[in-house]
């Protein structure tokens, strides 16, 4: 593989820390994707009376309302045989053991299962919110950068006004008005976070719009939107991607903070911030309830940050020429 992205990948490979970050990010992706296969209270397979069942995939009528853990016959359970909302009032705040790998919380729910499903929330919120604001940022930044003049003046002022708002408090206010849900968290982060991207895109457009290939395309009679999306934008994407990577890290942190304050997900949806928040009462005797989600947040955010940094070094040609 050669070309711009090929050389970038070559450079990226040499940065060991960044590669480690990439692997952790991919690993978290895998966990999020396979969460129901890793932690589930339904077995993969049941062999009963010489019949084969796959309860994890198919809902069988005859197993409805039956505790699958107590069924006779051969059962193969996932590594963590609990769902994230399944509670056990006889095992409240139990430290990590062979039965509960990461211990249980104040309702006797398995912490490992909740952490795994919490990965989904973190990654989902991170990507959707960043996708929303990158889209908004690109469109607004492209308009300002491409047309310049009074369009640019108006848009730049709007960007400056939006940047003045203290984002976190704006988010809290909007959530108080709309009501709290994961969707609202994503939308709110999305519509408040686009200014940085818009500025980057605007700057890149300013630089690129006078380049020869743009002039050539214009001379051939291309329409504006064609020039914007086909010619200029692909060349402006590199810094956007770097910024988006950092954006995912900060979004995960914002979601955790919101959940910690009780503004994030609705129970019983697990979120790392929420688990951390719930554990405040037990801080002096249940170390696993604070340390594990805290560590997960730390690792995730660090990984995205080193990944972003590696990406930045790899695609910034100025550092090499």
């Amino acid at each position: 593989m050669t070309g711009y992205w090929g050389t970038a990948w070559k450079r990226f490979k040499h940065n060991k820390v960044a590669v480690a970050g990439l692997f952790i990010v991919l690993f978290l992706f895998l966990i999020a994707l396979c969460a129901p296969l890793i932690a589930n209270n339904k077995p993969y397979i049941i062999i009963k009376n010489k019949a084969l069942y796959f309860p994890i995939i198919i809902d069988y009528k005859q197993f409805e309302g039956v505790d699958l853990k107590k069924i006779d016959g051969y059962k193969l359970f996932p590594p963590i045989p609990y769902s994230y909302s399944e509670y056990d009032l006889n095992a409240i705040v139990v430290p990590p053991s062979s039965r509960h790998l990461l211990g249980t919380d104040e309702q006797g729910r398995d912490l490992a299962a909740r952490m795994i499903y919490g990965t989904r929330v973190s990654i989902f919120v991170g990507f959707v919110a960043v996708f929303i604001y990158v889209t908004i940022g690109i469109i607004i930044g492209a308009l300002a950068g491409f047309y310049g003049g009074w369009v640019d003046i108006i848009i730049s002022r709007i960007i400056e006004i939006v940047m003045c708002f203290p984002t976190f408090f704006l988010i809290l206010t909007i959530l108080a008005l709309w009501g709290q849900s994961l969707l609202n968290v994503m939308i709110v982060i999305g519509i408040t976070g686009w200014t940085g991207i818009a500025r980057i895109v605007r700057g890149e457009f300013f630089k690129l719009r006078e380049q020869d290939f743009v002039v050539a395309s214009r001379a051939l009679g291309s329409k504006d939107w064609w020039i914007i999306f086909k010619h200029i934008l692909p060349n402006a994407m590199a810094p956007v991607m770097v910024s988006a990577t950092f954006g995912i890290a900060s979004t995960i942190l914002i979601e955790s903070s919101l959940s910690f304050l009780g503004f994030g997900v609705q129970p019983p949806t697990p979120s790392w911030g929420d688990i951390l928040s719930q554990s405040r009462d037990f801080i002096d005797f249940a170390w696993w309830l604070t340390l594990i989600p805290g560590f997960a947040i730390f690792i995730t955010i660090t990984s995205y940050n080193v990944l972003g940094e590696g990406l930045q070094d790899a695609i910034d040609p100025k550092q090499y020429y």
């Binding site: 809902d59 009528k61 409805e64 309302g65 909302s85 399944e86 509670y87 009032l89 006889n90 409240i92 104040e106 309702q107 006797g108 108080a176 009501g179 709290q180 940085g196 500025r199 980057i200 700057g203 810094p239 770097v242 910024s243 950092f246 890290a249 900060s250 942190l253 009780g262 609705q266 129970p267 019983p268 951390l276 719930q278 405040r280 009462d281 037990f282 801080i283 002096d284 005797f285 170390w287 604070t290 340390l291 805290g294 560590f295 947040i297 730390f298 955010i301 660090t302 940050n305 972003g308 940094e309 930045q312």
Partner: protein, 541 residues
């Protein structure tokens, strides 16, 4: 370039927050800095520091409905009569004595003459007449209080120190209602401004042992000894209420001696304060108060307008197991709308058992079956799916809700949980915009179920679950006129039966108060009514 700056910022955050020290330690430290940094350097031993888990909106006894506000107001404002802390008998406070007419319609109170408001103006019958008119004023927002004064026709000033209440019909609670009328100073409040938003709502002036001195919003409320107080002066010179919403932070401050009195949560009682070390420095008191918690089913919702469905829902809730685990067994399962130690409480009624099989049968008989095989019960095209509204102020509510969601799902009932801020939550209930809700209710010592259960209260009053039952209405009305205690007991026990049969609420628990008090005070006595700071003596630093 902009994103570069961003990067550095994030990295700094990451480094300082996560790398240098374990994350949870930073978190705790931050929480503590937040609450401790402004702590005063010199602490007066004659000052009592009390923990407040939430801040009251204001301290006007006529318009406030918050329990926290009234816990502060008892030391600022006084009433004509008071309940004895141990016998619960009514005894004189602002009034020296009283007379009741033979037809039980006229109540005449003789006021003590040497009493002054804390600004020096004398306390007279005018203040009581004014307070009564304010309570009756439709412009004043105090619907729950108005209910108790429906039958009071007039309050007349006979002389500056004699006042007479007149009822349109006899009412067994009349003496208590007249004797406990909240009294505010006329010369302060009657100045032509709006009573609901009067500036003295947050600067109370009363006749009680303490006067209001300072309010730092979000932080503390300070009371000082009333130099003009007519009764015995307490030993504690100053009471400072500190607002600390986070219970774990409050406990740490208690242990460090920065607060003296705190209501503990069950887990704190069992796991975090049960050490010898803690007990050397603190008294731990547990006592029951008239209170119950419940789940209310909005009968306006078609899902809940059948009493058999409500019964089935109660039978799906393992109340004892939840009590034993989430509340560490601190409390009792209750079955009805009275205080469990009250004479009216009907002990013949046993709680509905936890019985999912029977519950499923009840639901089936009521027409709720899973006809389309999607795992959710339905009837005539309607799915059994509803929202459980909780407040983020209560962690117990959240834990209860997640347990119910799991248990209900097993029989095919789909329940979503919606968690709201306290103010939004209260607003939803006022607008009757909920399916099911969990709350607690503090009862008065001598109760009248009218406010909660009479059908006239469904629109604007406190009967927000739309409980309408003709026999219950008749009993409530009859009992109000019944002065014979034994007859009233019979009526109310029957009323308890009706409530149990109808299950408008799933009654949960009567939970005890769990209080820790610093041992630098002596003469700390647990009365039937609870603790009373006025009698405490300071013995240590």
């Amino acid at each position: 370039m902009n994103y570069r700056q961003n990067k550095k910022y994030y990295l700094k955050v990451v480094l300082t927050q996560f790398c240098s020290v374990p994350y949870y330690m930073v978190m705790v430290a931050l929480l503590f800095c937040f609450s401790c940094s402004r702590f005063e350097s010199v602490r007066d031993s004659h000052t009592l520091y009390v923990h407040l888990s939430a801040e009251p909106g204001h301290l006007n006894p006529i318009t406030s409905t918050e329990a926290i506000a009234s816990s502060i107001n008892t030391y600022i404002y006084e009433t004509l009569l008071d309940r004895d802390y141990d016998t619960l008998e009514l005894k004189p406070l602002l009034a020296s004595h009283w007379e009741i007419s033979p037809d039980k319609l006229h109540y005449r109170f003789y006021l003590k003459k040497n009493i002054r408001w804390s600004d020096g103006k004398p306390f007279t019958a005018d203040d009581i007449v004014y307070s009564f008119h304010v309570i009756k004023d439709p412009e004043v927002a105090n619907a729950p209080l108005k209910v108790y004064y429906i039958d009071v026709v007039s309050v007349k000033k006979i002389s500056p120190y004699i006042v007479e209440f007149t009822y349109s019909r006899p009412y067994f609670l009349a003496l208590e209602i007249c004797g406990s009328i909240p009294v505010v100073p006329k010369h302060i409040f009657d100045d032509g401004t709006d009573f609901n938003t009067h500036k003295n709502n947050r600067h109370p002036i009363g006749t009680g042992p303490y006067i209001f001195s300072k309010w730092e919003t979000g932080k503390r409320i300070e009371l000082e000894l009333n130099p003009l107080y007519w009764g015995n002066k307490p030993d504690i010179k100053k009471v400072i209420y500190k607002v600390i919403p986070e219970p774990s932070v409050a406990l740490q401050m208690l242990k460090k001696g920065e607060i003296d009195v705190m209501s503990l949560r069950p887990i704190q009682w069992v796991r975090q304060t049960d050490s010898k070390h803690f007990k050397e420095a603190f008294y731990r008191f547990t006592y029951y108060q008239p209170y119950y918690s419940y789940i209310g089913w909005n009968a306006k919702n078609l899902l809940f307008n059948d009493k058999n469905v409500r019964k089935a829902l109660t039978m799906l809730i393992n109340r004892q197991a939840i009590l034993d685990s989430l509340l560490f067994g601190l409390g009792m399962v209750v079955t009805g709308p009275f205080y469990i130690y009250d004479k009216y409480y009907n002990h013949d009624i046993q709680p509905l058992p936890y019985d999912p099989v029977k519950a499923k049968e009840l639901l089936k008989n009521a027409g709720w079956v899973d006809s389309d095989g999607d795992g959710i019960l339905d009837r005539g095209g309607t799915k059994f799916s509803f929202t459980f509204t909780i407040t983020s102020a209560s962690k117990f509510a959240e834990r209860l809700a997640t347990i119910l969601k799991e248990d209900f799902a097993k029989v095919g009932i789909q329940m979503d949980i919606n968690r709201y801020e306290w103010a939004v939550f209260v607003n939803k209930i006022d607008k009757r915009d909920f399916d099911a809700v969990t709350l607690g209710w503090s009862l008065s010592w001598e109760g009248d179920p009218y406010q909660l259960w009479h059908s006239s209260e469904v629109k604007a009053g406190s009967n927000f679950c739309y409980f309408i039952n003709r026999e219950a209405d008749e009993i409530i009305e009859k009992a109000r006129k019944e002065f014979d205690v034994n007859k009233r007991i019979a009526l109310y026990r029957r009323f308890h039966e009706i409530i149990h049969d109808e299950q408008p609420y799933t009654f949960l628990y009567c939970t005890p108060a769990l209080v820790a008090v610093s041992k630098r005070f002596s003469n700390v006595i647990v009365h039937k009514r609870g603790l009373n700071y006025v009698e405490w003596k300071v013995t240590g630093n």
